[in-house]
Structure formats: C-alpha cells, structure tokens
Symmetry: C2
Subunit: 381 residues, 2 copies
C-alpha cells in the first residue's frame, strides 16, 4: 500500500428536498450568484423553480448563465467569466450534470485569474483562488460534485483537457435522487459507464500494490453501480436504486477509490477525451468503446491476475477474458457502443485519434507512445 | 435510502514517514502546542522522537501532557485544560490511540469554554469552539482521528459518556502503519473488535432501509478488517495488512458507513460503556461480549434477514445463527472474551450494568427499557 494524502471538504446534502438546505448554505457565502445550467432540463424537472425560489427566500440574487453543452466548451466558459465579473457575482451555483459543474469550476477560477483561464488546462498555471461554488446535481456520472477537477473542450484546438486544484472543491453539493427520475435512458447508461470508468482507472493502473481495503471499496462501488443500473433499467421510478447510483457515482471519483494505489493514471480517459474532442460523442459512449480495448491490451501486457480478481468479486466471472466480456455485456445493456464503428468512427481515423490523445498523455505525464495507443484503438475495431 | 448530510474535512496523511508532513501542517495553525500522549509507548516506537524533532524544525514549541489512560478520565483532561491555558497553547497535538485523541478533543474544546467541560458530555452544552487539533495515530481502532466525537469517563460518577461537534474534527491526522508494528497482541485484537463494532451499529439499527451502496461499503470494510487482522496475527510484520487495517478502522467511523441508514443507534456501545465504566475493561473486550448477545436479541426481535445478508457477504455463512457464531469465532481469534464470566464479570451484576447503561441510553435518546437491556446481557452469561 503506497503513501497517500486524502482530503475532501465537500459538504454533501443528500436526499429528497435538499435544495432549500443548499440555498441556505450558499447564502452564508455571498449575496450574488451566477446560476449556471445547460439546455433547460432543470426547468422541466422542477429544479430551476425550487432552486430560484429557495435562493430568493435566502436573499441571494442571481444572474443566469444557461446553455452549457454536454462537452462544455471554453468559449461559453469565457462568456460566463465576463458575466460573473460584470454582475459582481460573489459565488457560482451550478445546477445540472458534470458538464455544468465543470464549466462552473472553470468560471469560478477564471473570475479570480487575470490571465487566460485555458492556462489552467494546458499546464501553464495552477488555480490559486476561485469563487465559492455550490452545486445541485441532476445526473450521476462524473463525480465533479465532490472533487476538485474539471474538463473543458477548446473548440479551436479540438483539445479536451482538464484542470484541478483544492480551490475548485464545491463548498456544498445537493444530491436529490428524485431529480434523476426524468433522465433520458441514454444518460442513465452513459452515466453508469462513466462511473465504472472512474472506478477502474486506479485499480488497473499498476500491478505493484497490495491495498486490500481500497480493492474492497472499488469492488463494492462497482457492484453497486451495476446492480443499481440494472434496477433502474427495469424500473425507472425506483428511488432507492436512483439513490444508490447517485451516491456511488459521487464516491467513484472523490479520491477514496485510489487511496494506496501508486501512480493512478487516466489512460482510458486520455484516449476517450480524443474521441469526444474530435467527434463530440458522449463521454460515456467513448469510454464504453475504449475500456474493453484497453482491457485486452492490459491482459496482454500485464497478465490476467487483476482482471480475474475484479471479475470474480464483481461479475462472478471465472477468467480475465470472461471479465472483459462481462464489461462489454454491461456497457451494451446500458445502451453504449463498444466498438468504434458503432459510434460511426472509421478505423482509418485511428492515427489521428491517437495523435490527439498523445498530447494529453504527454501533458498528464504518462509513459505511452503513439504506436501503443494505436494498437489499443485497433482492439476497438 | 434515507436523507443524510456528509461532511468530513479531516486531512489524512497516510503512509511511511508522514509525521514531518503533519508537523508542517500544524505549524500553519500555531506556534505553541500541548502534546498529549499516554503511557510512553510513543517513546519506544520512535513516534515521540520523530514528532518532537519535526515540530522543533517547524518552529513549534511544546508543553507535554502525558499519562492519558486507556479509558481516558475527566480529571486528567481537566489537568490538560489547565496546562494548555497556563502555557498559552494555540493548538493540541495528540500522539497515540483513540483514548489520547478523545482526551485531546476534550481539552481542545475545554480550553475555549468557560463552564465545566463535562457539560458537553452530559448534554448541558454543545462545543462551539475548540483549539485546532492534529493527531498522530498509533492504534487503529476508534476512528477518532477522522471524526468529531470523543468519549470520556467521569471517575466520580462512573459515567463513560460522549461529546461531539464539528469543531472537534482534527485539522489533519498522520497515519503511519509502521507505528503499529510494535502494538501488543491484545491491542491488535481489541482494535479489530472495536472497528467491527463501528461498522455494524448503523447496519443493524433499523430494518427500514434500502441503501445498496452503503451495504456494499460496510461489507467491504468488514471483510478488509477481518482479512487484515488474520494476516497480522499470522505475520505481525506485514506492512500492507497493517496499512489496510489502519485505513479500514479510520473509515469505519468517519460517517461514510451509515450514509442513508435512518436513525443509527449505538446500542452495543451504550451497553459496553457501562461495562468499561464499571470494570475498567478494554473497550474492545466489552464490545466482544456485548455484540453476540445483542445479535441474538436482534435475531429474536427483527428476524434473520439482516444477519443472513451480512454473513453471506462477509463470512460466507448460510444462516443468521451461523453468522453470530462466525462473529464469535473472529472475536475469540482476536483474543477477546465473548462472555461476561470470561472478563470476570458476575451475572449477578447484570441489573447494575443495565442501570448504568440506561442513563446513557436515555441521554442518547434511544427507546429501550432496563428489562430489555438485562435480557440482552443475560445472552452473554
């Protein structure tokens, strides 16, 4: 078990009708909020009405910044920074999924930074200050509501890059499983795939480890994500399954599932970011394509031990090969593509995708060369 | 799944040689520390030397407060409060196990309170301020290093009561598994029993729940505690087993394993506190006696479902009865007594023990009457 530091100060308000509590928390931090959201689903599911009423009741004025895209783009974040400055906002409130929260983090740090906010994503600078951020989560998937990272796509350069820093932790996040009851089926599935992807990156990064407690947490969260998704797909009104899924997805990327694993890398994410940066496909769809391909590569390179251990504990599969098949079966059941062609991506594009991924792999300090990435992608043909 | 709030701001510095990092964190909070420890084991295992050197290197002056007892007593905490005030300490540094950390929390809150610090334990007041607290953990067991509670025994009234409040969270805790390599065998065993007790209280409190994710975390932590203890008993120098045990014990009472369970009660702890308040037996020993007795009562009152579920996931046992036997087998293997007589406690004392427990049960707002507690204790004859 390797040395680690764990610190996660986010206050989680979980369950039915917690939006009022979040508004009260926010009112302790400021009086003028930039309210960030996406395409308007929060107006259909009641979150917008409940949140704006609760903020008004707590004396918080809002300036709206709507229209965040599923793969949030730099230009829209820059607009948000301008708006927040112009209105003199002293906090950010994000209402939506991971994309909304990630763009909100970008805005929160950008308002406090004199340079170009993209500096935080391309490694030129680290965020040292940010406006306080509060979130109302409506899509269980990215874990952004309880971590200090965010991902933004630069449309000009076709780069989907990430930034992070302790100032980006939300102060508090409201997780009401009822807000997820109206999620479209694809988002249920892609969220499940994304959460599984977060759980497996650290677990499979190195073979040099012996961290039984963290292995147990990873297995338990994976089982919970899979069984909750099965229940939700069978009965979309199952509140307790929605609740288990929501909390599992949050825990999957809050720092706990990698404690004691040395050198956690995000190789599947690095390759996927290239896919969604180039083709603008959903992050979960890209991950469902990359993971089985990467698992085959891992099996060849590092042997069957880790895949077999995970499969035995999570799927009840007897071998590493069967474990990879079980992942694919789950991804397909979730409605995700598991091959490039199923997302309309031609095999001829592999060198271009690998080249895009390589810039991120270098930035994140991973030791892979382009031929290896192309080889992994060919497993997805 | 019931509503919950989760917030735990403690920074964990985990692994080999993290004491220097803790001293640096502490130096950010003040310049004069009250250093609280127990019977001197930290002088044998190198913690005292490493910690005092690191504090000196970071410019932190110390005033020593040694001699904390295994069931820490109010009179010694009151002395600590006086010492800290007299020396003008601006923080507390605890080096030891749960008893040292609990007394340190009492001192940290007491220094900032004009009244009698016992007010916090008997329900007369809530701690609203405390000196910043830093801990160096040397015994995995109580979880106090990552939570906001503490337990103190009032020797005059023979009451072992608890206090809590967000101001009591340590700022940072250093967990170096190497400091546990020299633990005497009984403390290994009692620590394991205590951790198991923390894991099961919420899980078994009510039958009205459906929180698959938290069930998975509880099962996983229980398996990790049991398998790590088995490894440690087989090879006391097994660093990775020590590490998994240490982190499991911390997570067992940091708030996570009860998320979504309604109305978590600490009935086993309430009865045990009476045992160790009256007979001054180790907390882990008392818990190993109480838990099987309470499980038999639970089986009779609430049926076999929950015990069977836990047993299947953790021990691989087929029935609730077999699960209770598996708990007992584990406690015995850990070197703990599982019947009152094995700790030299006569059955005739049962009414007196139950009466002592009742005052705590009432204080904690649990709905049990003395005849029920006596009935549970008779299961331990």
């Amino acid at each position: 078990m390797h040395n680690f530091t764990f610190a996660n100060p986010v206050k989680i308000l979980f369950g039915r009708d917690v939006i009022g509590k979040l508004a009260a928390e926010a009112a302790g931090s400021g009086k003028k909020a930039l309210l960030v959201y996406g395409g308007g689903s929060i107006k259909k599911n009641g979150v917008y009405a409940a949140l704006t009423a609760a903020l008004a009741a707590n004396g918080v004025e809002i300036t709206e910044h709507a229209g965040v895209k599923p793969n949030p783009v730099l230009s829209h974040a820059l607009e948000g920074i301008k708006k927040a400055r112009a209105a003199g906002c002293d906090m950010i409130i994000a209402a939506g999924g991971g994309s909304v929260i990630d763009e909100s983090k970008t805005i929160a740090a950008g308002v406090k930074y004199d340079g170009d906010v993209w500096d935080f994503f391309c490694g030129k600078a680290q965020p040292r200050a940010a406006l306080p951020l509060f979130t109302v989560l409506t899509i269980p998937a990215t874990g952004s509501e309880m971590n200090s990272g965010c991902v933004i796509t630069n449309e000009l350069t076709r780069q989907k890059y990430s930034a992070g820093g302790v100032v980006l932790f939300p102060k508090a996040s409201a997780l009401d499983p009822e807000t997820t009851l109206t999620l479209p089926r694809p988002q249920i599935g892609y969220g499940a795939v994304d959460s599984i992807a977060h759980i497996i990156e650290g677990y499979f990064t190195t073979t040099d480890r012996d961290a039984a407690v963290t292995d147990e947490l990873v297995h338990g969260l994976a089982r919970s994500i899979i069984s909750s998704t099965d229940r939700i797909l069978a009965d979309q009104a199952d509140y307790n399954a929605r609740a288990s899924m929501m909390w599992s997805a949050t825990l999957a990327l809050n720092g706990l599932p990698t404690c004691g694993y040395a050198g956690t890398h995000f190789i599947n994410h690095a390759i996927e970011h290239a896919l969604s940066a180039i083709y603008d496909i959903p992050h979960g769809a890209g991950l469902a394509i990359v993971m089985p391909a990467w698992f085959r590569h891992h099996l060849e390179k590092d042997g069957p031990a880790r895949l077999a251990q995970f499969g035995k504990a999570v799927f009840g599969t007897p071998t590493a090969e069967e474990t990879i098949k079980a992942f694919e079966t789950f991804f397909k059941k979730a409605g995700a593509p598991v091959r490039l062609a199923e997302a309309g991506i031609p095999a001829e594009d592999i060198p271009r995708i690998a080249e895009n991924a390589m810039s991120l792999i270098r930035l994140w300090g991973m030791k892979h060369e382009q031929p290896e990435i192309e080889k992994i992608l060919r497993n997805a043909v």
